[in-house]
């Protein structure tokens, strides 16, 4: 079920909201929680009921392992149990997400004909696997004896973050869930939730899905694009991804607030970044936090000298690339970000400061070009698109300019037959202005005040978004 669908907005969400708070009036709060977990599982199974046993068994096995970890004292056995748990989670992810990719490459290299599984990727597997690895590691480190299976299942399946994050830490959810003051409706949270959910819905349905039209058309007709068109296509995707993912994060945070659960901020104007490290502190922040706590620091972080720091940095981005998808385009995307982060780390030791505009431009251009790898279905498409973007062979002047040059200078330029309208430059300049200079939705949420103007604003953007719900499309981050 998509957040941007009629069935979610008008049926699922109102039913869960009303029923949950009604059940919380009962003395036994577990009934409300059980209802909520069932609702989460229904939400998850709505796409494909086949996925349900996978998430259920994953929850059951991880909780059992954590219970064992909580009980035993001997370090060696604890380490063994933790290793089994991590291997189980990585094995599950590997089997469903990477087996075919691995086998395809084995077949290509060794000229073998090993059969592929052709399995459909279970929804959200990358997210719930990581969250549960974190839970096992924390249980090993500090213990989580106080959690019940119900609390744990609630944390893993809580529908606002289940499908595409944020990647939440167990304490972030369970502590709020156990706080008795959260068992009643809080109108300030509902108002804030409605406010940021409406903004997120508008970002997704109106902005991202409109940009998707140009990006998809461009990538489908790549051979006919001029240099200008290739930049329109790739910029459309760069902005689409921004509004799609930030829209999703806003909606997730808004939905959490309706149930008095504050989800962590996951997105903080990443295109305002002046360097690549800053970018990763602003884009998919909870993924970065996970990698820092559970990979970078255990690898030694920056404590073991410069070379080891560079290697560790590179490893987290390499893994991040693979996490995003089983394909060479994602691997290379991860490598690019890894190399860029290492270069930046080295650069920052030189204490040379670039002018802000130059620093911003280099960062944005790099991120933009790397998105070409992220979006392209294969490396051939990447090569074709980059060639289109940087080859002057594909450059032609517009009609009037061509006529002017040919008449006044006697040149023989051929006028461009653009795939896209030149006016899109103005639109993209406007969008760029918004993503770079405007306050983001979290900043707006922090200063949110209920008044007539805000009520009119959210009513209007919500109604416009609802009007466009008929062109339903999935969130890009659902496939990771």
């Amino acid at each position: 079920m998509l957040f941007n669908s009629y069935i979610f907005i008008f049926v699922f969400f109102p039913i869960v909201f009303v029923a949950y708070y009604l059940l919380l009036n009962l003395k036994n709060k577990s009934i409300a929680k059980i209802f909520f977990v069932i609702a989460n599982l229904y939400f998850y199974s709505y796409w494909n009921i086949k996925y349900l046993p996978i998430i259920l068994s994953s929850i059951a096995i991880n909780f059992t392992l954590a219970t064992i970890l909580n009980k035993i004292q001997k370090l060696v056995i604890k380490r063994t149990v933790l290793t089994i748990g991590i291997l189980f989670n990585i094995g599950l992810l590997g089997y469903y997400k990477y087996y075919d990719f691995f086998m395809t490459n084995v077949n290509a290299v060794f000229k073998t004909d090993l059969s592929l599984l052709h399995l459909a990727l279970p929804l959200a597997i990358s997210f719930f696997t990581f969250q549960q690895i974190a839970y096992l590691v924390d249980t090993f480190r500090e213990g989580t004896k106080e959690y019940s299976l119900l609390d744990y299942a609630f944390f893993v399946t809580f529908f606002p973050h289940l499908i595409a994050g944020p990647i939440v830490h167990h304490r972030e959810i369970i502590d709020q869930l156990r706080d008795g003051t959260n068992y009643k409706i809080k109108l300030n949270n509902i108002a804030s939730g409605l406010y940021i959910f409406s903004i997120g819905l508008f970002k997704k349905v109106i902005i991202a899905d409109t940009l998707a039209g140009w990006a998809n058309t461009g990538y489908t007709n790549i051979a006919t694009l001029t240099l200008f068109d290739s930049w329109v296509t790739t910029l459309a995707y760069t902005f689409q991804l921004y509004f799609d993912f930030s829209g999703y994060c806003d909606m997730a945070i808004g939905l959490g607030l309706f149930f008095n659960i504050k989800l962590p901020v996951n997105f903080n104007s990443p295109y305002k970044s002046l360097d690549i490290q800053d970018f990763w502190r602003r884009w998919h922040m909870t993924l970065g936090r996970f990698f820092t706590h559970y990979l970078y620091i255990p690898l030694g972080g920056s404590r073991k000298g410069n070379v080891r720091t560079y290697i560790n940095l590179f490893i987290i981005f390499f893994v991040s690339g693979i996490w995003h998808g089983a394909g060479w385009t994602f691997v290379i995307w991860g490598i690019l970000h890894g190399v860029a982060s290492v270069i930046y780390r080295f650069w920052s030791t030189l204490n040379i400061r670039l002018p802000k505009l130059v620093a911003w431009f280099i960062t944005f251009l790099f991120v933009h070009i790397a998105w070409v790898f992220f979006r392209s279905p294969d490396l051939t498409t990447v090569k074709l698109m980059l060639t289109k973007m940087f080859s002057l062979q594909g450059f032609h002047f517009p009609d009037r300019l061509t006529a002017f040059f040919n008449e006044t200078l006697g040149t023989h330029f051929i006028a461009a037959t653009y795939y896209f309208d030149l006016k899109l430059i103005l639109l993209f300049a406007f969008i760029l202005g918004i993503v770079v200079f405007a306050k983001n939705s979290i900043e707006r949420l922090n200063t949110f005040k209920p008044n007539y103007r805000t009520a009119a604003f959210i009513s209007l953007i919500a109604v416009i978004s609802l009007l466009y719900l008929s062109r339903v499309s999935e969130f890009l981050y659902f496939k990771f």
């Binding site: 109108l187 409605l194 007539y452 805000t454 009513s459 209007l460 009007l467 008929s470 062109r471």
Partner: protein, 367 residues
Amino acid sequence: MSYKKFLAISAIMASFFIFLVSVVMYKLDPLFYFRKPDLYRPQYIATERYQMPGFLKNQDYDTVFTATSMGRNFRESYVNERLGVKSFNASLPASTAKEQSMVAEAAFRDKPHLKRVIWELNYFSFAGDPDWVTGPPSDFPTYMYDKWRFNDIRYLFSSYSIEVLYNNLMANKAGDERRRDIESLYKFGQVAPIESIDHIKTTLKNVEPLEQLPSYEKSSIQIESFKENVISLVKAHPNTKFTLFYAPYPIYNHVTFYKKNPKYLTERIRFKNEVYKLAQKYPNVELYDFQDMRNITFNIGNYQGDQTHYYNFINNWIIDYFAKNKPVQSEKEYAVKLQNFEKQITNFNVKQLQKVSSIKEQYVLDN
């Protein structure tokens, strides 16, 4: 302002905006769903599945066609002349049985004294759950075909309706005269590629065998859908004549499926048999089967180059056949027809195909 007041004001404002848009769209009615066009000149730009409910409501007819693309080229003026009826062709390309049934139901709702339903029986349409309707991107707007009025809000409050309205008004402003005539609106094939023996040979040569027949191709699945979508309507409307027919697909289309997996043929013949047995129980049903009619199906001159569709003169030929010939009369007669059909497929040879233009000339229609 308190949070409570803020939420109440937001809800009131949002409801007001939704109401405002809906009232304006109700009045302007871009798909001409509530009434015949009167405010501005209509240009029918919406896709068939969205446009058809308005036509079903507001056109004047006593006979309705419900079919896939195989029925789209029945020209109403010709049908009216030959069958002495007032017809409307509501065929939807690649429509499922449920969609065809909802078309017929919508027609019954608005024309309670509907005399005749002409219904094309297509294996594809029945190959699925009885409630199967087309999903995105060309999704079937169930809410416009059903009897409930409250869900019409999805039509009134939709960006698609606004888009259609805008394009219509722009077309009027620009003097664009396309898509104004309802009868010619969804007819096709005028510029279709021509069929050739070489093309057929290549296609048959490249058929990839299918190891296992998909479960939805089983006759048991298809019969369930037939019962729920066709027989239920036949029962509910005993005073309406139901003319069921199997369209004359080119013989090599059947052969393609047979080469993929011979069980296609077994299941299809089983389906036909069962359909006839069920249909003959009702006096208001008649069945025509054109699929063994060699003079049509072995003549590549009758077909477009997509190995599926015939030219529009074959639609006229079918209408003439309805007018002049009796439907299948007995189980025995039908068994012979089916045997003949089976032999034509199992003994097929490309050399048996011919290209003659006698039917085309007889109907003197350009294609």
